[in-house]
């Protein structure tokens, strides 16, 4: 790269950092990249850090010493997250979204890149300090959320299949009972898809009693993997806490009630916001 002026270097460094979240970049790498003294690079980083933190874009962690460098941690402030969630609630509460069984049609919303980007950032904020190797979800609707979160956390994604037609070598299958129809269903994961003893963050779009998430946890047990966290976008409020299969999870939104006659729904903030607002 040719030598840049400070103004141009700030633009380039900003995009470089934004494209490499949760990645340690050494000062030396930056100094080489921009043919500049480390002192100049440090001054640039101080400017970027201040903007990122003041504008709620994220944190810039600087590590001193020979192995030192800088790491960009995407974050979203609670105020911004609440504002985004309230916009989402207005969409979720549209009467035409009510489906039989107390479900909500939200497939279209999970197809909007901007919404996914925002929600992925909220999950990435919630789980930023956990030690995670991989993000897991089950096909189909949770996949975009898992990727949006993975992009912010710089982690790979593993997708559990809802059948046992895995054509990818030996696979582990388990049976589980989903809350949606009380039928026994199967989910599978190829052996090669997940390393033993991985620390796994489970992300899903919707949770009722938690049967599907519990199924993924059972599957993780077969891989000697551990659950580093569970994040669900929307949880159903129709399930009493005594019927809930798991306790340790983060939800961003909670569906309190669906009136099938009037097609009225109410959506409130999930437990992630409990101690925040």
């Amino acid at each position: 790269m040719k030598k840049l002026k400070r103004s141009a270097r700030l633009v380039e460094m900003t995009q470089y950092l934004l494209n490499r979240p949760h990645t340690l970049i050494s000062l030396t790498a930056f100094a080489d990249r921009y043919q500049s003294a480390k002192s100049s690079i440090s001054e640039d980083l101080a400017i970027i850090k201040e903007v990122f933190e003041e504008e709620g874009i994220g944190e810039l962690h600087t590590l001193a010493g020979a192995a030192g460098g800088v790491k960009y941690i995407p974050k979203m402030t609670t105020t911004a997250a609440v504002s985004i969630m309230h916009n989402i609630f207005r969409q979720l509460e549209q009467p035409e979204r009510v489906l039989p069984g107390g479900y909500l049609y939200m497939t279209d919303m999970l197809g909007q890149p901007e919404l996914l980007h925002d929600v992925g950032r909220i999950f990435a904020t919630a789980f930023a300090d956990r030690s995670i190797d991989v993000i897991m979800t089950v096909e189909t609707k949770g996949i975009p959320l898992a990727y949006a979160t993975a992009t912010c956390l710089n982690l790979p994604v593993v997708i559990v299949r809802r059948d046992n037609k895995v054509t990818e070598g030996s696979a582990v299958s388990i049976n589980y009972v989903s809350g949606s129809n009380k039928r026994i269903q199967t989910m599978s994961l190829a052996r090669r898809a997940l390393k033993e003893r991985s620390r796994v963050l489970i992300i899903d779009d919707f949770m009722k009693a938690g049967g599907t998430v519990q199924g993924m946890m059972d599957l993780l047990y077969e891989f000697n993997a551990t659950v580093a966290g569970v994040g669900v976008f929307v949880e159903s409020g129709e399930v009493g806490s005594e019927d809930r299969l798991l306790e340790d999870y983060i939800s961003l939104a909670k569906l309190t009630a669906v009136d099938m006659k009037t097609k009225q729904t109410t959506v409130v903030l999930g437990n992630y916001f409990d101690d925040k607002v």
Copy 2:
């Protein structure tokens, strides 16, 4: 937002633009956001434009006049794209990836956010000038690629289901013959998922004869929608052009041969690069 110095403003504007690809932002909006004169904003944009274009990050299109503004178009240079593809080929050619039937295991690769980001950007470059309303893919492995592309193009994604268990109101199902096993299969899409007369970009991870893509095109016909383009990540070279069901598509990589005895594969650049390298 409080008034920022030029250096801080450049950092903020860079992240603002990067997060809003293919979106027209008026100079007035920027001037209000940063409490700065339009002339200062124009100077900032000139600096950002130069860095984005020199470093191959993308283009900044400026529209003059009262309705004028600026639009960030993510792009990848052919040189960068070829270099990325060659890194991908080295992974794809690992012998342990060979699966029965001339398929390659690449699910793990399609779980890497950085690879997806790069490939999405190549697709976004290839289709930047087409008029597209929505990106379509079929579950499961094409989904992350579709989202990565959609993020760069700022377009929604629609996912076709491989069964007819669509619980989202009325759905259209079609039968198709996939090249993989010559069996008749079903794919479905909820009526509400796609507006009539949409212009649709089809993205998929792998194409053999093109039966699955052809199935999606048949489905689009039922919605009075039109195909704005077809992009596949890897195409099989085992299919002669006379057996290929479609001609107008872009591929990024081509699997020329899989030797089932030696598990040797060769991957070359796909037709997207035909007139470029």
